[in-house]
Symmetry: C3
Subunit: 297 residues, 3 copies
């Protein structure tokens, strides 16, 4: 499939290929399509990281970039997503990157659109390029996924990242746990068990912190932010109990002193900003794949 | 005149030249200005098609593109359109493309601005590049305009497209009719007569459907949307009564199952998405003309 | 320092260098960095002139431009400015241009960010590239600053421009006065004395009009707009009493017939639109300096 929609739809061999290409880009490889290629970024939700990460990746590949803002588009006149994408295709767009608040928005597009779709995040569901950059960050650190202990902490129920990552980490041979408030654990995710944060820090190779999605669920916060940090967050005290070579990850944006102590954001074991750098390389690899699979090269 | 403001201001010979150049671009011709050329897109109203169509056209010509969003500009501090455009000229913009809600907004600019203005739509008045792409689509189909029967259907009174198209189609030798609710027909347009939709479909070479501009007039809808479709819209039943080689056009965005049955949007005689593809080529031709007439080459 | 934050932080020799480079760009000099360079424009306040001026400057230098709109970014999820800028750095941005409503927003960034920051205006404080373009405009006219009489008129208390300009003009050898409503004069600025507008016009070499910042202070207007114009503004009558070679400047956007008569905006001694043209050249010079000082070349 030329699209990148969800992690489960990517075969393991394809994932390894993308990680390989991304690392090559980080090592200085250059690659560009032979012909002028237009990509449209359709972001229906606020984003800094993902949007600019894609835009930098696109420009590094020499693509022509169209930035679509939902607020100033015909979407405000009631146009459907299908008609919008079909329009972009008709005017010469070769690839679309879409972030949309609706789960599986792409079901309405696949098979009816003849250009590759790259999912930049859908509702609370999938965010494959985030998963891929997380994988690249882990692979750079440990060389393999086999036998690694990864703990995903926080708002599992509302996180795109948790779902995608749990599945693929399990598939690649890692062991996955979930931590955070018990009521936030989504028991429909079959790839891991609950673990208390205080046990987790001593066992994990990777502490994968999630963002509390204040803007998604009416924050019937289980507690205050400061109590949350104390009960479920990565505190300075907990970081000191982590294993020697274990690392901290977070997709950002960060709620400082809620899911993670502010002082830890740039600490020695934090890979948070490295993840962002990896994000550009992963998106370059995904765009390259779309160009090649979409017959655009 | 270096500007493209309205269809009546374009001489017939110029229209033919633009259509010729647009078709050449579609056939693979390449053309670029000799020096770095900046174009600013000023869209004071939401738009997907027109805005991106211009942006793709500009980038295909190698122009440097400035995208002006009214919401984040000094317009919010009360700056006039003239001062805004004069500013863009002073900082090195070579061409401006403007869509603005005020009829004849350009009257305040012409003669006071020394760079070419391309009208991307003004109020309920003119939308010359839309007319040009409609003409190109018709010409591709029939080779000529002489003797063609074109029926414009819908919200004539609030449509930029209707006005511009009726005049120019008449000028180029086609016969024009108007259909839709009687009260929506604008009797101030002298180039055509009213015809009932059920007669129209059997006679027309081109059914040119318009969009119901919900956002423009307080929709004292003559009726419900479903009744509208039944009484005035292009239903599946009516399409079947159309002549063998006749075609369907619509400027989009489409209100599916209101002005046209959803199933017909991509039917064999629909040229709706082809119109969009043609739009890019027409805008390339118009920009080329602006660069040449504006002495920018 | 690689940053450009305030005029007092720029040494006199650096100012002369920037003005020199800017004039060279206006004279046709070309300069580009040797490697692909990304610049992000972060505008947290509406702007036309400054934003597009930077964008044109950036594109003329061949930079890759990322336009950040606060409204569609993770800032809406509560992300701090530091985390936003750090993110942009992590994804490969080489320079950031920032306009922000908070005075000295950059205090939170300097020393913690390893890429050059160019201040595009902070709160009511500083706007160094505006000062630099004002200086370039004066230098083009008079060749020197020594002994020039400059009167800054208007809303001194709420103007970024007044503060920066008074300091640097004083430093470069000019004499500075302030005019306008007595209650709007900020006595904390040590570089000039109050002068009545009717005396000012007959004495000044440069009448530097400021914009009344309606959007900043609850306009407990000292009076009506028309009375303001009559009492403190540059009226047609006052312009006629100006010295032979004296000039009029204004940073724009202009409140026509308030701080300046509408007829004077493009009069012979007005340099208002020339200032904007100079703004692009000055920003090219500042960006060149950032690329060189930031080790990006």
């Amino acid at each position: 499939m030329m699209h990148v929609l969800t992690m489960p739809l990517l075969e393991t061999i394809e994932i390894h290929q993308i990680l390989h290409d991304a690392q090559a880009f980080l090592n200085g490889d250059r690659w560009m399509p032979n012909r002028e290629t237009f990509v449209a970024n359709l972001f229906f939700e606020p984003s800094t990281r993902t949007k600019f990460s894609f835009e930098v990746a696109e420009k590094k590949l020499g693509l022509q970039v169209l930035n679509f803002e939902a607020q100033t588009s015909s979407v405000t006149k009631g146009e459907t997503l299908y008609d919008t994408v079909k329009t972009l295709e008709a005017i010469g767009t070769n690839i679309v990157v879409i972030r949309h608040q609706q789960d599986h928005y792409f079901d309405d597009l696949v098979g009816r659109i003849s250009i590759p779709i790259i999912n930049g995040g859908d509702g609370c569901g999938h965010h494959p390029t985030q998963s891929l950059l997380d994988l690249l960050t882990i692979k750079q650190e440990f060389g393999t996924f086999e036998g690694l202990k990864v703990v995903i902490v926080g708002d599992i129920r509302h996180s795109r990242v948790a779902r995608s990552n749990a599945e693929v980490l399990h598939r690649l041979g890692a062991s996955v746990w979930f931590s955070g408030p018990r009521s936030w654990i989504d028991d429909s995710i079959p790839y891991g068990n609950f673990i208390d944060i205080d046990d987790a820090v001593e066992m994990a190779d990777v502490m994968m912190m999630l963002r509390i999605q204040h803007e998604r669920h009416a924050v019937k916060m289980v507690t205050t932010q400061s109590d949350y940090h104390h009960q479920y967050g990565l505190t300075i005290e907990r970081e000191q109990r982590m294993k020697k070579d274990s690392i901290i990850m977070h997709p950002a944006p960060i709620n400082r002193d809620v899911e993670i102590a502010s002082e830890l954001v740039e600490c020695e074991r934090s890979r948070i900003f490295k993840q962002m750098t990896n994000g550009v390389a992963v998106r370059m690899a995904v765009l390259k794949r779309a160009i090649e699979k979409g017959g655009l090269k």
